[in-house]
Symmetry: C2
Subunit: 471 residues, 2 copies
């Protein structure tokens, strides 16, 4: 007997990616703009409670749309988190996570497998024009770049802005905390070609914005809907901003950088308003993972959430999430429902009249009810991986930690918990009060959900460990 | 030679309270409503980033007015904090703080001295009708009650709702964390008479609201401006709420209680709107001190700020502050300027056309420029006392801790710091990174400000230690 999971695995090996079918000709087919930042914390926007970072454009976006308060990313570091966003699946399903190298590096040989269906491919198959601007980090070799994963065009850097350091740069952290652009050799790409190397990081936020505005204007003239993925390089260290944003923020350098991103969001939304396409355009804003707390004042804040980037505590994986679509997404709503970046793929495909891929396990769910204000989010769980290991599981308001570990540092203090730690995240969002002793039934339910989930995971090649052979 | 400080001290001893003079007949003379809560944290409202406490009425108040992000109270516990609000002065100036008993208790013999000029007296002298509803905690003996401190009427409880426990209540914390109303003998007063004992705490928030609405309606018919001080008993433990608010909040019991207060704010603002007096009424919302963190899930959250109630870390003394006055206070502003509850007295008196008392040291400043959107707040410093000791001083964005101490617990770990700890609160609102070594010039400036401040403090009788003689 061949199980359906085995069949799914077989189909992965033998078939080309299945194109989503256009199933609903009456669907609204909105344009989609995904604005994604890097290492922004849950507490770093004014509308999420930061006292000294001014984000008037994001605050306005929230006031005109929805502000979600329990929205997750698929992993607590860059590469696997972006994989989740692009594929609608946990990164464990595509090999885009590892417990040694946690992200891709400039010497990595791997990348997002061609067998994965990206959000761009899914929407392109439904007739969308697709463009990407910004940081990719799903493989820098040509076959892995955005234009080979469903994007018509690409302008951005292929991996993190602290990678590719030149031997002439100062040793250690100082090159990152007191950076000069020539310390890093990160290339700026146009499609698959190098446009500039090193990229002038001071102007990246501004140039990403200009490229995005240009893309939106060009698309608005056509009769295709469009998908724009704008993935800011900032506020990942080393922190750079344009001259216009030097010393503008009360929060110092980090604030300057976030305030330039806020300006950028204002530019995007104003462009959409001026073009008269606001009522046909869904814009969402979120980030890849929590703040990098080991960079002191150059790292952000997770607000009231515990820990940050690299950790499976909430501060590592819960992010600001704003959704804006005037006339369709209700204005001024605070949404405490569960959501995740993985949900964007099925949600966008359904909004575009298609059917999400059915030949593989999707971890994303259809967020349309919550997004359109017609009902609750169907998401009721969340899996928190570190590398390839499942560290924690949320079910309803409860979260069980099987393993905890500090994200960085010499002693990361890995602890296996038996029984797991248990927190009621809605009563205790800061994960302070372990209530495992009071709720054995909840632990049992979470254990069984974890087992079921593990059973759905097929072994796939690890994409993060292989390295390019040295010359 | 007699110094001006000595003259001020002499005048305190020999003169009756000086009435503020009506100096500006063109002043707007707005009605003033001060809504004050108890132990609410900086992070407990949705508009300050709480993920699971729904506060739509407060969020709307913020959207229609100002949301301040660096607003302080005068002390980190109840009695001295309320003294600061009522007098416009640090509690050290009236003897309303002590390093043994930190607040007044049911056996306390002291209270706010008659020589102090309260906000109610100052506005009454300028022709305002004055009413108070809620928790007083500035002395429960008749001479100290609100109607002997400038309020025309009073309805509320005289001290904290966890005091006055009956001998028949269970021992220890359980009486507070799993409370019944009959465990506490706290009286409900009308003016100076006991109306109900024990007060039915379940309905206090509702009844305070009804009384407040009745007061506003009655005043709106007259031709005097009015001042209403609504000081909620909640969310101080033991937590109680009306039947309508049982299990309404995702945040559990604490959330229910805060959501009932949010409802109450909605009732107050709606009453003001319906009566057509919104453009003549300034409403402010804040709390007395930070969250009581030792009460686990029954305590609130200071958001990204460090520590809570009882502490001179930011979480103890920085609070949400909303200001609403349609047509006059700019709508939708986030205000990062410094402000403090002590500023309300001079600000309100000036708005009413009077002059703040000039015969004593006032610690409050005129917030009108920031409140009306015409300029920055003149406040640039803040003094953080624990009891009668100065623990920390803020100057501009910098805060120096001379002494730190855990607020509660068996080992409060009092530490004197030499040099003081130094934090840049605007870059580092969570007080994580001591930068004292980098800024000796800032430490010197703060030391000199602290010395100057200490020199302005005259010895006065301690009001918190004396006890009522046993029968």
């Amino acid at each position: 007997m061949i199980s359906s999971l085995m069949l799914a695995a077989l189909s992965l090996m033998v078939s080309p990616p299945a194109a989503p079918a256009v199933a609903d000709p009456e669907a609204p087919r909105p344009n989609l703009v995904v604005i994604f930042t890097d290492d922004l914390g849950y507490g770093d926007l004014s509308c999420y409670g930061h006292p000294t970072i001014a984000t008037p454009h994001l605050d306005r976006m929230a006031a005109e749309g929805q502000r979600w308060t329990q929205f997750y990313v698929g992993a607590s570091v860059c590469t696997p988190s972006r994989t989740a966003l692009m594929t609608g699946r946990l990164p464990i399903r595509s090999g885009m996570c590892s417990s040694q190298r946690r992200v891709l590096f400039p010497d990595s040989a791997g990348g997002l497998p061609a067998s994965e269906i990206t959000l761009a491919e899914a929407l392109k198959d439904l007739g969308y024009a697709t463009g990407m601007v910004g940081k990719w980090h799903l493989g820098h070799l040509p076959e892995y770049l955005p234009t080979n994963h469903g994007f018509d065009s690409y302008f951005g850097i292929p991996y993190s802005n602290d990678m590719d350091r030149l031997a002439s740069s100062p040793e250690g952290r100082v090159a990152i905390t007191e950076p000069e652009i020539e310390y890093f050799n990160v290339p700026l790409l146009q499609d698959t070609e190098i446009l500039e190397r090193p990229a002038d990081q001071r102007t990246l936020t501004r140039r990403y914005t200009e490229q995005s505005v240009r893309f939106i204007r060009a698309q608005a003239e056509g009769n295709q809907p469009f998908f724009l993925y704008l993935a800011h390089t900032m506020p990942h260290v080393p922190l750079f901003r344009s001259e216009e944003f030097v010393d503008v923020s009360r929060r110092g350098l980090y604030g300057d950088v976030v305030e330039e991103i806020d300006w950028s969001v204002g530019q995007i939304l104003d462009t959409i308003r001026v073009l008269g396409i606001a009522e046909e355009t869904l814009v969402v804003f979120t980030s890849d993972n929590g703040p990098w707390l080991t960079y002191d004042q150059q790292g952000g804040s997770a607000g009231l959430l515990r820990n940050g980037k690299g950790s499976t505590w909430e501060g590592g994986m819960r992010e600001p999430f704003l959704a804006w679509w005037p006339g369709t997404v209700p204005a001024g709503q605070v949404v405490p429902d569960l959501g995740a970046t993985m949900d964007l793929l099925p949600t966008a495909v359904l909004l575009a009249g298609g059917e999400p891929p059915s030949d593989r396990v999707l971890d994303g769910v259809d967020l349309r009810p919550a997004l359109l204000g017609t009902g609750p989010s169907p998401r009721d769980s969340m899996f928190y991986y570190r590398g390839t290991e499942l560290y924690a599981v949320r079910l309803g308001p409860f979260k069980a930690h099987f393993i905890t570990q500090e994200p960085y540092g010499r002693d990361t203090n890995r602890i296996e918990h038996d029984p797991p730690l248990l927190f009621h995240l809605e009563h205790d969002p800061s994960e302070r009060f372990d209530i495992s002793a009071d709720h054995p039934e909840v632990l049992a339910a979470i254990q069984s959900l974890a087992d079921e989930h593990r059973g759905s995971v097929e072994p796939v090649p690890n994409q993060l460990e292989p390295r390019i052979a040295a010359d």
